[in-house]
Every structure is written in structure tokens, then in C-alpha cells.
């Protein structure tokens, strides 16, 4: 039986190989996959988030930890799916229409995957119609929008209005982020949440999928 604390350490330090190996061993020995996720991996990502907030970790450390988390989840996800356990949520993520920046969005997408979400990455310059189509066809329950330009922020509002028109606004939580975005703006356009960084975005997404 591997020392599962090592799984926690592997995720915190971003050791994808370690994370995969320990998960493999633990699963082979019959450890419940959810135990691995909830008792070791999620707390590890929480610690990563804490270090980010404390300026001990920056984007590179976030990315490699998310990668280590993902390496383990790739082994665990099929087992959970097979027994009918759904992912934490299904996120349609994209940079809004008119905006071509994707680094921030990609970072949030990898951290959401690391956080146990199924992520449908729609890329950049995503039209409201594309978001709507994904919500309908892939049954996404979170729409995550990014904008880096002050000039493209209004596309977020347009998308929220289009979701309403299409009759799917109530099916999803809308989360937004990006350099020029503020909580005030999120409130103004009727988004369900805003985060100023990628770590906060995962916490926000988790909160969003908890049934009220």
C-alpha cells in the first residue's frame, strides 16, 4: 500500500509521474478512487491555491500542479464514469467574441480540469451562438468567459443576453474573468461570479455547482 500522503505531495510539487504512479498503485490495491480525489488531491490543489495567494507559487507552479492532478484524474475518471459518478461539472469555456487572448483562459481551463471538471474549451473569439450550442448539445452547466480587452468586455453581456433569449440562462452558471473585469462589472451584466485569478476561478466553479 503506497503512502497516500505522497499523492498529496506529488500534486503540490507538480510531479506528474509520481502522481500517476501512486494513483496506479493505490487503485490496483483497491483504494476507492473518490478517497484519492477527496482526501488527497483536492486538499493538495487547495494548498497550491493557498501558496499562489501567498505569492509563493506563480503561474508555472500552478500549471505543473494542475498537470500532476490531471495525470491522476486520467486514471480515476474512467472508473468514476463507469460507476455512474459524474464529473464535478461540465464547463464551456472560451474567450469572448472579438478577443483573441487565450493564455488566461487556458490557465483557468487546466486548473478546472485539475479540479475535476470536464472542460470543453471553445478557444478564442467565441460567439454567443457557440456558447449556446455547447450548453445545449454538451449539457454544460457552467459557462466561463474570458476577456482581456476592455473593448471586448461588452461581448460578455451580449452572450448572457443571448443565453437568456435561447432559454438556457437558468441551466447554467455564468462565470467571468480577465484583466479588465471587476466584481462590479460582473454584477452589472448579471454574471453569477467573477474571479480575479485562475485559482479563484476553480473555487468559484465549485461553489457554482453546489445545489442551492
Amino acid at each position: 500500500m503506497p503512502d497516500l500522503k505522497q499523492l498529496y505531495d506529488a500534486v503540490v510539487s507538480g510531479d506528474a509521474n509520481g502522481s500517476r504512479t501512486i494513483t496506479q498503485q493505490a487503485l490496483a490495491e483497491g483504494t476507492d478512487p473518490l478517497t484519492l480525489v477527496n482526501q488527497y488531491m483536492v486538499p493538495a490543489m487547495d494548498e497550491v491555491g493557498r501558496r499562489f495567494e501567498a505569492n509563493e507559487y506563480f503561474v508555472p507552479e500552478l500549471l505543473i500542479s494542475a498537470r500532476a492532478m490531471k495525470a491522476a484524474l486520467e486514471l480515476i475518471r474512467p472508473l468514476l464514469t463507469a460507476r455512474g459518478d459524474e464529473p464535478a461539472g461540465r464547463v464551456a469555456i472560451g474567450t469572448v467574441k472579438g478577443d483573441l487572448h487565450d493564455i488566461g483562459k487556458n490557465l483557468v481551463a487546466s486548473l478546472l480540469e485539475g479540479g475535476g471538471f470536464e472542460v470543453i474549451d471553445l478557444g478564442v473569439n467565441v460567439s454567443p451562438e457557440k456558447f449556446i450550442e455547447t450548453v445545449k448539445e454538451k449539457n454544460a452547466n457552467i459557462v466561463a468567459m474570458s476577456a482581456l480587452l476592455t473593448t471586448t468586455m461588452p461581448s460578455m453581456k451580449t452572450t448572457i443576453e443571448a443565453l437568456k433569449q435561447a432559454g438556457v440562462r437558468d441551466k447554467v452558471k455564468v462565470l467571468i474573468g480577465g484583466a479588465p473585469i471587476t466584481q462590479k462589472y460582473a454584477d452589472e451584466i448579471g454574471a453569477d461570479g467573477y474571479s480575479e485569478n485562475a485559482v479563484g476561478a476553480v473555487a468559484l466553479a465549485k461553489k457554482a455547482v453546489v445545489p442551492a
Binding site: N55, G98, T151
Partner: protein
């Protein structure tokens, strides 16, 4: 020090230019369209922006080539036009500059992250080398590698730019961490200064990311960590939304009012990034004239 840089700095601090993207949008560039291809399709509008900065008193103007690398142009189906777009960009700025200003050609990031494997170091090297060469052949006075969030990408661009034997300015974005004194990848001003000095940058600096107040401590720290002249282009404060439009909250006078502090902190090249306009350059010139 390269003769071009030495000559420019001989008479004291040098005023560079302000933002281009927003100026082009004011002239009809649609949202979501990269400005670079406008060098071919709307050269008159691009020239207007360049002239506006020269008339405002810029001693160095940049070029509308920030995103004119193969990786970014590929997204717009224009990767076959790298050389042409860059050459026209330099020509447009050169004509506007005449003998009143120098033309430093802009090289921006690819928008892809090395560490996630979205792009390889070889692809970056090739993209920057191609762009730098096109800019050099078109007759730029120097190259400016700017708005870099990843020091590794900046170093690759620097080494590609240096192969042209033109002087190279490299500036990065400090916008992360509690004190906003780190790059996105977590590098400090000291680490940036050391790496770029070792990499042979002729001028080192910071641009974008935050307003001028945050640039003052960063400039001091860069000053203490390198012997190279420093290049500073802050944003016009933070944007706020007013009736659906982004408005940067610093006025030209407020911005220029802190230029003395930036000079005291060791800056040599002064200009602005997002939200700054020709009026900001005029205000900096007035401020410097007052001494």
C-alpha cells in the same frame, strides 16, 4: 552602448510613443481583428497614428508590427505575409518619422505558452528570427521586444533579434503577485534584469500591466540590477467601464505629473502603453521642458 542608443541618450531622457491598438480602433479597426494586417489594407490609417505621435513630440516611434509573427498571423491565415506586413510597418513609421524621430520596430509575444507545450522553443526562435530579419531588412533603427509575460519567451526573442545586429530593447510586463512586482511567470525585476543583461539586451524595461505609480518601484529595482538604460511604458491607469466603454482613468497631466519620479528612479526612455494617446506624449514633453 550601441551608437544609436548613445546618440539618442546624449541629450537626456528620450520620449517614445503611446498606444497604437486603441488609436487604430478609433480609426475603424474592428474588435477582434489584429491590427498588423492593416499595414497592407489600411496604410493611411496606420500612418495617421504614426504621424500623430511624431507631431506630439515622440523622439522614438514604434511600428504596427506587434503581432506580426508567424504564430499569430497564422491564426488569421496571414502567415505567408510575415515579411510583407513587417516591411510595410517599418516603411509607414519611417515615412511619418522623417528626420524627426527614430523608428524602433515592435515585436510582441506569440500568445502561446512554452511550458504547456502550446509552442516549442524552436518554433518561437524561428518565428522571432523571421520577424526580426524582416524588420531589420526594412530599415528599422532598433528592435523592441515588448509586453513579454514569460522571461523564457523574451530571452528567445532577444537572441533572435540580436542576430540582426540592431540594438535591442526588451521589456516585460510586471502585473502579478500582491505587489504587482512579478511577471505572470513569477520573475522579479532583479531576475529579469539579470537574464536580459546576460542575454545582451541594449535597453531593458517594463511596459503595460499597470499604471505609472507601480512602475516607479519596479524601475528602481531594475536600475539597481543592471547597467543598461531603462525603458518605461506604463498604462494610463486602470480601465473603468463607462456606459459600456472602457475608459482609462489617468489624464495626460496626472500621468506626466509622475514622470519626474520615474526619471529619478532611473528611467531613460519614457512613453505609454494601453490607454495612452498622443496627448500623453505632449504632456510628457511639457513636463520635461519644465525640467
Amino acid at each position: 552602448m550601441s551608437p544609436v542608443i548613445a546618440q539618442l541618450l546624449a541629450d537626456g531622457p528620450v520620449v517614445t510613443d503611446g498606444a497604437w491598438g486603441t488609436q487604430l480602433q478609433a480609426r475603424g479597426l474592428p474588435l477582434g481583428e489584429f491590427p498588423d494586417t492593416w499595414n497592407l489594407t489600411h496604410p493611411d490609417q496606420v500612418a495617421e497614428v504614426a504621424r500623430a505621435y511624431v507631431q506630439a513630440g515622440s523622439q522614438v516611434i514604434l511600428t504596427n508590427t506587434f503581432g506580426a509573427n508567424r504564430v499569430r498571423l497564422h491564426e488569421q491565415g496571414a502567415s505567408a505575409k510575415v515579411a510583407e506586413i513587417n516591411a510595410r510597418g517599418v516603411e509607414i513609421s519611417r515615412r511619418a518619422a522623417g528626420d524627426r524621430a527614430h523608428v524602433f520596430a515592435s515585436i510582441g509575444p506569440t500568445g502561446r505558452l512554452l511550458m504547456t507545450g502550446e509552442v516549442t522553443a524552436d518554433e518561437l526562435r524561428a518565428a522571432f528570427a523571421e520577424q526580426a530579419q524582416a524588420l531589420a531588412e526594412a530599415g528599422a533603427d532598433a528592435l523592441v521586444v515588448e509586453t513579454m509575460s514569460d522571461l523564457e519567451e523574451a530571452k528567445l526573442a532577444l537572441s533572435a533579434a540580436k542576430q540582426t545586429s540592431l540594438p535591442v530593447v526588451v521589456c516585460v510586463v510586471f502585473d502579478s503577485g500582491k505587489a504587482k512586482d512579478r511577471t505572470m511567470m513569477g520573475n522579479t525585476p532583479e531576475q529579469v534584469a539579470q537574464a536580459l543583461t546576460e542575454g545582451g539586451a541594449d535597453v531593458i524595461g517594463a511596459n503595460c500591466g499597470q499604471g505609472i505609480a507601480g512602475f516607479i518601484p519596479i524601475c528602481k529595482r531594475l536600475r539597481a540590477a543592471t547597467d543598461r538604460p531603462l525603458w518605461m511604458k506604463p498604462n494610463a491607469g486602470l480601465p473603468t467601464m463607462v456606459e459600456g466603454h472602457a475608459v482609462y482613468n489617468a489624464t495626460p497631466e496626472e500621468f506626466a505629473g509622475r514622470i519626474a519620479e520615474l526619471l529619478k528612479a532611473g528611467a531613460s526612455f519614457l512613453g505609454g502603453c494601453c490607454g495612452t494617446r498622443p496627448e500623453f506624449i505632449e504632456a510628457i514633453r511639457r513636463q520635461l521642458a519644465q525640467g
